[in-house]
């Protein structure tokens, strides 16, 4: 796999929640080493998209392909073994397990790679002294760190991050996002979902905007103007913007 070829490809993905169409024919292509951000307002379908890539939702149509392997019909645990790890919205740690136990469970089907429990403790040194504490007793930011660690110890090829900033203080969010370069340097490709456009454009190498399930914009943050992003985010067309 050469750097620059597509690692994760999503092709014409459509996902329904019952009768509601949450994701409409969305395609994206993430290359090795990229930090790919999906932005959009609440209800745009970003989390659904991510969860479908991870295998928690079944797609109505479309494909999810990882390094050439079609994972569209694979169960979530099989996708983890293939190399896709999701850090879900709301952290979803195992509340009755300790920090260390959460990480150990994360390593259950770990692939070979640079990350293990010890490495996670290096990344977050405060965890060492807290490792025997129950996960439910940690603060939001701490739980987020443990959740990321839990996904990392499986040595995923693609790390999916769902709304990291939700419910966290801005300072905490920045500290967590500051980690990303280190992760990508260790060989992890990142696909993240984020409501905070500023945060997303600061860390991402590529950005894609969703509105009501459909892609409205795609590109490199440096090439896109603020007005373009706003328009794509809110669904306001350029002409209306000028008229006001």
């Amino acid at each position: 796999m050469s750097a620059g070829s597509a690692l994760l490809e999503v092709d014409g993905l459509t996902v329904h929640h019952g009768q509601l169409c949450a994701v409409r024919e969305v395609s994206l292509s993430v290359r090795v080493g990229e930090t790919y951000a999906i932005i959009g307002a609440n209800g745009a379908g970003k989390s659904t998209l991510l969860r479908t890539i991870a295998g928690l939702h079944r797609a109505t149509s479309g494909r999810v392909v990882l390094d050439g392997a079609d994972l569209t019909h694979a169960r979530p645990d099989a996708r983890l073994a293939a190399g896709i790890a999701l850090v879900p919205e709301g952290r979803r740690l195992f509340p009755s397990l300790t920090v260390e136990e959460n990480l150990l469970v994360g390593a259950y089907r770990a692939r070979k790679g640079p990350f293990d429990v010890a490495r996670v403790y290096e990344l977050f040194d405060w965890m060492v002294s807290r490792r025997r504490q129950r996960a439910s007793q940690l603060s939001g930011g701490e739980q987020q760190a443990v959740a990321i660690g839990r996904a990392l110890v499986a040595n995923p090829r693609v790390l999916l991050l769902d709304e990291l900033s939700l419910g966290l203080a801005p300072v905490v969010v920045q500290r967590i996002y500051a980690l990303l370069p280190e992760l990508t340097a260790s060989g992890v490709t990142v696909l993240l979902v984020e409501q905070d456009v500023g945060q997303a454009t600061r860390v991402a190498t590529h950005v894609q905007c969703l509105l009501e399930g459909s892609t409205t914009l795609m590109g490199v943050p440096g090439d896109l103007s603020r007005a373009q992003i706003e328009a794509a985010y809110f669904g306001v067309s350029h002409d209306e913007e000028a008229e006001r």
Partner: protein
């Protein structure tokens, strides 16, 4: 400010506003049919043999019990395996009254009311649990009731006691009186279920069944609704138990408090179609057909029936009636609401008008 190019939502034409009706198709004629059926049934003792009348009577009893369980589980979401508590208490109330000189048949409504009254303190206890724990707790209550009654010597203790007060009747009159009492009970039971579900309470229950939190925040008094349903179910099962006492002229704890009543109620409702009023009717028919045909094979009809209920619960959870009507949209007892164009304008039950297209221009 919107540009002229934005699509405008279609305005409703006069006279074709969506109407809210109780059924997808006109079913008023079914009411007449229902009355006819009841009248026909009333004449049964004169038409059919005594053995068949007895079968019909037991059919009515089972249908009453199943309708009650359906109300509890299918509409209020409470799985009870302890309704036999009220069956037994209803039967024993009749015994107590008959021993005191009361007419057993006249005691039936009183027995029902006594069970309804007893259901209130019982609900205070068992409602503290939910789901499977609630279910077993109801069973414990039934078992406790059975044990308490078995220890009372004046009620016949563990071996039971005959029900006095019907000896003055000829066998034919006895057959007729008990049959008509059972017919009356089942008509009231099914009718009451129907009325309940068409009322506001029915709407509350449907809302709770779909989304309890949403229902609560919309103001539904969920616990009260459940208590009322539990009370009505106790009423019905008490009346069924009273009928057992009157028709069998003997009451015994092991028989009236037997968990087998729950098994039959549950299987009948699951197979017939849970959550529909027609379901218990269909299920009871299937049950009796099976029982009559396998009567010589010992417990086999229960094995087959139970296995059938398991299969249906997993793979056809709407039961026979529910699966059939999913396509046909027919309800003999319409209890839902349908939004459609009013009948003047064409086929009732057609789809509601399409929602307006999402605005392209924002008006912020």
């Amino acid at each position: 400010m919107t540009t002229g190019a934005a699509p405008v939502p279609p305005t409703a034409e006069a006279g074709s506003l969506p109407g809210v009706t109780r059924s997808a198709r006109p079913t008023a004629w079914l009411g007449g049919l229902g009355v006819g059926v009841v009248v026909l049934l009333a004449f049964m003792p004169s038409i059919v043999s005594q053995a068949d009348t007895s079968i019909l009577l037991n059919f009515f009893i089972l249908l009453t019990m199943s309708s009650m369980w359906n109300l509890l589980a299918g509409y209020a979401g409470m799985v009870s395996i302890g309704q036999q508590a009220f069956v037994g208490l209803g039967a024993y109330t009749v015994l107590v009254l008959a021993d005191g000189g009361f007419s057993p048949v006249a005691a039936i409504p009183i027995a029902a009311l006594v069970c309804a009254a007893l259901s209130v303190p019982i609900s205070l206890l068992v409602f503290r649990l939910r789901g499977g724990y609630f279910a077993i707790a109801t069973w414990v209550v039934a078992d406790a009731a059975s044990l308490v009654i078995s220890s009372i010597g004046s009620l016949g203790g563990g071996t039971g006691k005959p029900v006095p007060g019907m000896s003055g009747l000829s066998p034919k009159s006895f057959e007729q009186v008990t049959y008509w009492a059972a017919l009356a009970v089942v008509v009231v039971a099914v009718g009451m279920t129907y009325a309940l579900l068409r009322s506001r309470l029915g709407l509350v229950l449907a809302a709770v069944r779909d989304n309890e939190v949403g229902a609560r925040s919309a103001g539904a008094r969920v616990v009260t609704a459940r208590r009322i349903v539990y009370l009505v179910a106790a009423l019905g099962c008490g009346a069924a138990g009273a009928l057992l006492a009157v028709s069998q002229l003997n009451v015994q704890p092991a028989s009236v408090f037997n968990v087998q009543w729950s098994a039959e109620m549950i299987f009948v409702t699951m197979i017939g179609g849970i959550g529909t009023i027609e379901g218990p009717i269909l299920g009871s028919v299937v049950f009796f057909l099976l029982q009559q045909n396998l009567a010589h094979e010992g417990a086999w009809y229960l094995i087959i029936f139970g296995a059938l209920a398991v299969v249906i619960a997993i793979w056809a959870p709407r039961g026979l009636w529910g699966t059939a009507t999913a396509k046909l949209r027919v309800q003999l007892f319409p209890v839902g609401y349908h939004v459609g164009r009013t009948r003047r304008r064409g086929r009732p039950g057609s789809a509601p008008p399409a929602p307006p297209a999402p605005p392209v221009a924002s008006t912020a």
